[in-house]
Each structure stands twice: as C-alpha cells, then as structure tokens.
C-alpha cells in the first residue's frame, strides 16, 4: 500500500515537473522572429484567426523577410479591456467600442492620442440590425415592432456585453433623435424611456454575450427577433446558416476601435510590427478581408472596397453625444435604461 502511494506521488510529481518544463519551453524567447500578443473581442475571432492574421504574416514576410507569430486572446470586449487594464500584456487591443478603449487610456496603457489617425482609431464598421424568423411572421420592420405584444425579443445583458450596449443604443438613439427632431430640438425623454421599457418587457432572455444571444435564437429556436450586428448575421450566411434580417430605417453605425498598447510594446520591444499590424487592418487588403467576413469598410467611399447599402437615417454615437455621455444618460445610476427597472415596484 505504502509503495503504491509513493508511486502515485512520484507520478504526480513527475507530471508537474513535466508540465512546468513544457510551459517554460513554449514561452521562452523566440530568436527567429517577431511576436504580437493580440487582445481582441470575441466577435472578430473568425475574421482575424482564419484570414487577417495569415494575410498579415505573409505581408510582413514580404516586407521585412521576418516571421511574425501571434498569440491570440479573444474575450468579451469589457472583460478583455479590464484584463489589459489590470496587466494582461497584449500588444494590440481590438475592442467593441470606444467606451472600452477609454478604460485603457485611463489605466495609462494606451496613449490618449490613439484615435489620431485617418480612421479615427476605428478599424471596422457595422450596423445594428434585427434578425427574424423565416418569412418574417411577426412583420418586424423597425424598432417599435419589437415592442408589439407577443414578439419575443433577444439581446444580451448590457452589464456584461459591449454588443448589447450597441443594440440598446440603437433603439435608444433612433427614438431619441426622432423625438428631438419632432420636438424642435428638445427630446421627450419619457417617450424614449417608454419605448425602451416596452421592448425590454418583450425580452425573453438576456444572454451574457452577443454570440450566445445569436445561438439562442438560431440553434435553440428562442424568440421571434434578435437584435445584433449586421456582421454577425453575414458571418452566419458565410458559414451556410443564413438568418433573415431587416435593417431599420434609422439605425446606429457600429464603430469598433483598435490601438497599440504602449506599455506592452515597450516591454516586448515590438512597436514596429504592432504598428504595422494596426495599419494593415485599415489597408485596402485588410478591409477587403474584413468585408468578406461581413464588416463594413471604414472608408465607404473607396471604389476598391465592397459596397454595403446605407440605411436611410444612419446615425453615429457622436450624434448622440459620444460614448461618455450615453454611458451616463442611459446606463448610469440615474440613466434611462437603469430607471426602467427601478420604477418597477415589486
């Protein structure tokens, strides 16, 4: 018995030593080439992992003759931003929205000048759309249709999902701007809150992320409508699992940023390759690859890039006052979205 226990202990010890040695081996210095640590939000995984990164590796090799290796991490945008802010040494951050990038500026990881480039720090565009069931049985065409009785709506929890903030901002923004135009400059906030409240009352389930929301809708058959990014639906189409959708007349332009993380590239001494990668994302080649995965090109006027139909009343976060203002006005302690719950007595 004793020898068996000893043998077992020895086995685990050996296993432990082996694992530690193994880890040491893979993370050791790589003299043969460059390394980029990528800290991205989950929605871009397919486009980056399957196409953009291989294309950049080829590009870098032709330009410098060197090999670049990627260490990729994909996570929910907010979680990724928090990880980088508290020490995850990603060299390049790709996030869902500027609000998350601002966290990195506050944590002094990213330069306050990160947006000072031709695309304003933005690398992909998309729009907020509504996916619906085949043949559109509930006749969904606009945001207000999500508030109709008997329509089961899906969007993720804005507490955990950057995607949900885009979705709810689109509903909020369309009502806010319409009401502002009708009221001669002063919006009727009560009416805006009422729409948010009636849509929320139809929400069946709030998943933790936009991806989960999409799979609840398509794989588990939950709900009649899913509020999501256009590129998420186009990705499904690319994978042979199309979902019918409508682009509401007034919808929000999704602008997702990327930046070099200064503290990391100083530590890894790879600013050159990281900066080149960032520039590659907005190059014609990079934008074409992203477009093939459903992202709208940042430069909508370039004749070299595929065209996407433009919604009639497309608006941006800047039209709503910018991220900081919307975060407070909608999700803050006294925000419109927060208040639809605190008004409910129970």
């Amino acid at each position: 018995m004793k020898t068996r226990v000893q043998g077992l202990a020895f086995f685990f010890l050996a296993l432990g030593v082996g694992l530690v040695a193994g880890c040491g081996g893979s993370s050791g210095p790589d003299a043969s080439g460059d390394v980029i640590k990528l800290g991205a939000y989950s929605v871009v995984r397919e486009a980056f992992h399957d196409a953009l990164i291989p294309a950049f590796q080829e590009h870098w090799k032709q330009k410098t003759g060197r090999v670049v290796r990627f260490e990729e991490s994909y996570n929910a945008s907010g979680a990724q931003a928090r990880a980088i802010a508290s020490g995850f040494d990603a060299d390049v951050a790709i996030l869902s929205h500027t609000g998350d990038m601002n966290q990195l500026v506050e944590a002094k990881r990213v330069s306050p000048d990160w947006a000072k480039n031709p695309t304003g720090g933005i690398v992909t565009h998309s729009v907020v759309v509504i996916g619906h069931r085949e043949g559109n049985p509930k006749a969904i065409a606009d945001w207000s249709d999500l508030a109709k009785p008997g329509v089961g709506v899906l969007y993720p929890d804005p507490k955990t999902s950057g995607g949900a903030r885009w979705n709810i901002n689109a509903i909020y923004g369309s009502a806010y701007l319409a009401s502002k135009a009708a009221g001669g400059g002063t919006p009727d906030l009560a009416a805006v809150a009422d729409l948010l409240k009636r849509v929320q009352a139809n929400v069946v389930n709030m998943d933790a992320s936009g991806r989960q929301s999409m799979s609840s809708f398509s794989e588990r058959g939950i709900g009649d409508a899913v509020v999501t990014y256009e590129n998420e639906i186009l990705l499904r189409k690319r994978e042979g699992k199309p979902i019918e959708y409508v682009v509401p007349e007034a919808t929000l332009l999704i602008e997702s940023p990327a930046a070099v993380v200064d503290s990391s590239v100083e530590k890894h001494k790879n600013r050159e390759v990281a900066t080149e990668f960032l520039a590659f994302l907005t190059s014609v080649e990079g934008q074409k690859i992203l477009a093939s995965y459903g992202f709208r090109p940042v430069d909508q006027t370039s004749p070299l890039l595929p065209e996407f139909p433009k919604p009639a009343k497309l608006f941006t976060m800047a039209d709503l006052g910018g991220w900081d203002e919307v975060q407070t006005a909608v999700y803050g302690p006294k925000g419109l979205w927060t208040s639809i719950f605190s008004d409910q007595g129970k």
Binding site: R82, K159, F341, S342
Partner: protein
C-alpha cells in the same frame, strides 16, 4: 454530519503534532479566511454610505429577495422529497435499489453549466415539453420556476445523504413499541421517527440552502437574467463586475457571504444544542 470527535487527547503535544496542527490551521486561514477578510475589507473601505447605497439599490434588493425565496421553495421540496427518498432507500428492498442509490450522487458530479443546458434542452420554449407547457400558459425556462428546478437539481443529494445514515442506525425498538401500544403508522412516524430525524433533515436543508444562495453556473442559463424579474444575486454580482461597478459587486457579495455564514453558524449552534439535549 455529526461533528467528528478528536481521537487524540489535547495534552499530546510533540513537535510533529504542533507542526501538523499549525500547518493545517495556517492552510485553513490562507485558503478560506484570508479571501473572506479581503472581501470584507475592500467592500467596507469606501465607507458605510457607499456600502448601503450599493446594497439598497432596487435591483440588488430584488435579486437578494429572489435568491432567498427560490432557495426556500427548493428547501421545502427537498425536505419532503429527500426524506421520502431516504426512507424508501432504507426501509424497502426492491430491484434497482443499488442503481437508484448510485444515481442520487450524480448531480454532484455534473458540472452546473451542463445542468443548466440539460434543463434548457428539456423545458426550453422550443422543446417538446416546453411547447406543451407553453400552450397551458406555463413557462419554466427564463422564468422563476426554472431557477427552482436548477436549484433542486444541484442540491438533490443533500437531504437524502444527511437523513439516510441516521435512518439506517435508528433503533427500531421505539417504533415497534409505539406500534404495540396501538399507534398508527403515521402517528409513529410523526411522533417517534421524525423527531429523531429532525437534526439530520435540518442539516440537509441548511446545506442545500447555502448551496443554492451561491448557485451560478446552472442558473445563468435557465433564469433569463432579467433585472427585477429573474436575476438572482450571483448573476447580479457577475453583471456588476462585468460592467465595472466593483463597489456594488463587493457590497452585495458581502451580504450574500454573511447570509451563508449565518446559515452555517445557526446549523452549528443547532447541532450543539441538540447533542447537549441528547446527553452526548
């Protein structure tokens, strides 16, 4: 779950004993007590006003109410069904008993997120059962009954496994005496058996209640996660962390922790009182 008595007398204090004792105490402190102190300190450091504001937020209050109510509903069902199951396992012989006995521990081995997934597949709005229930106006998944179902699954063995050993060792002479004196089966159970089982039932109930307060993995899939409707406290805490409200998350966590500790302490006090009364 009767407390384990020490087998060595306290006077035996050789150096190895001291080292061993010190090591295990230190281990307990490091693994269990230190994280709790860290949470307690961090959540109170912002001052009592910030703490109260976070705890009294309407969404936080609702989440806590929902957590406690769903856990209590689960406990009531568990006490009745768990005691009955233990009774059947101890007092009856039937084919398949061994299999049944083995299956009871299965919920402990199933990852909670898998539990959630199984329930969604079975009762979800698009499943066969979910559709049938839906036509009668019942919704299970993404509403409160779904939470109770998930809690019932993850805490299934607690009452059974607390009651079973006590029932096995129960001296049947008292029951037989009651029967000889003309008491009916029910009366015997109510007056003779149940009082003996009560501490074990209470232990099982308290353990499953404590387990339910913190249940996350299964609940996040079945609850629907809607504020003021189906968002339990663990889901609320997760959401607050994810949206950067660390103070809110910590303060509410501390309340949840205090509640669990309260359950544990009252369980210990109850057990002590009972063993004193019993003359042990």
């Amino acid at each position: 779950m009767a407390s384990v008595e020490t087998t060595r007398s306290g006077g035996d204090t050789g150096l190895p004993d001291l080292v061993l004792r010190g090591m295990t105490l230190g281990y307990l402190g490091w693994m269990v007590v230190l994280p709790i102190i860290a949470l307690g300190f961090q959540s109170l450091v912002a001052g009592p006003q910030a703490f109260l504001d976070a705890v009294l937020d309407p969404q936080a209050v609702h989440a806590l109410k929902l957590t406690v109510v769903t856990a209590l509903v689960m406990v009531v069902i568990n006490v009745v069904m768990g005691t009955a199951t233990a009774w059947v396992l101890v007092r009856y012989e039937f084919p398949g008993k061994k299999v049944m006995n083995a299956l009871i521990d299965l919920p402990f081995a199933v990852p909670t997120v898998v539990t959630g997934l199984m329930l969604v597949l079975l009762y979800g709005p698009s499943s066969v059962l979910g559709t049938i229930l839906g036509t009668y106006g019942f919704s299970v998944i993404y509403s409160q009954p779904g939470i109770v179902l998930a809690l019932l699954f993850v805490s299934y063995p607690f009452v059974i496994r607390s009651v079973q050993p006590v029932l096995l060792e129960l001296d049947r002479a008292e029951e037989e005496a009651a029967a000889t004196m003309g008491a009916s089966g029910w009366l015997t159970f109510w007056r003779v058996t149940l009082p003996t089982l009560a501490p074990a039932i209470f232990t099982g109930a308290a353990l499953s209640f404590g387990r339910a307060l913190g249940e996350f993995g299964s609940v996040i899939l079945v609850a629907g996660n809607q504020p003021m409707k189906t968002k339990t406290t663990p889901l609320y805490v997760f959401g607050e962390i994810e949206s950067g409200n660390k103070q809110g998350a910590m303060a509410v966590s501390l309340v949840l922790l205090a509640l669990s500790l309260g359950v544990l302490i009252s369980l210990n006090l109850y057990q002590r009182r009972w063993s004193l009364e019993d003359g042990k």
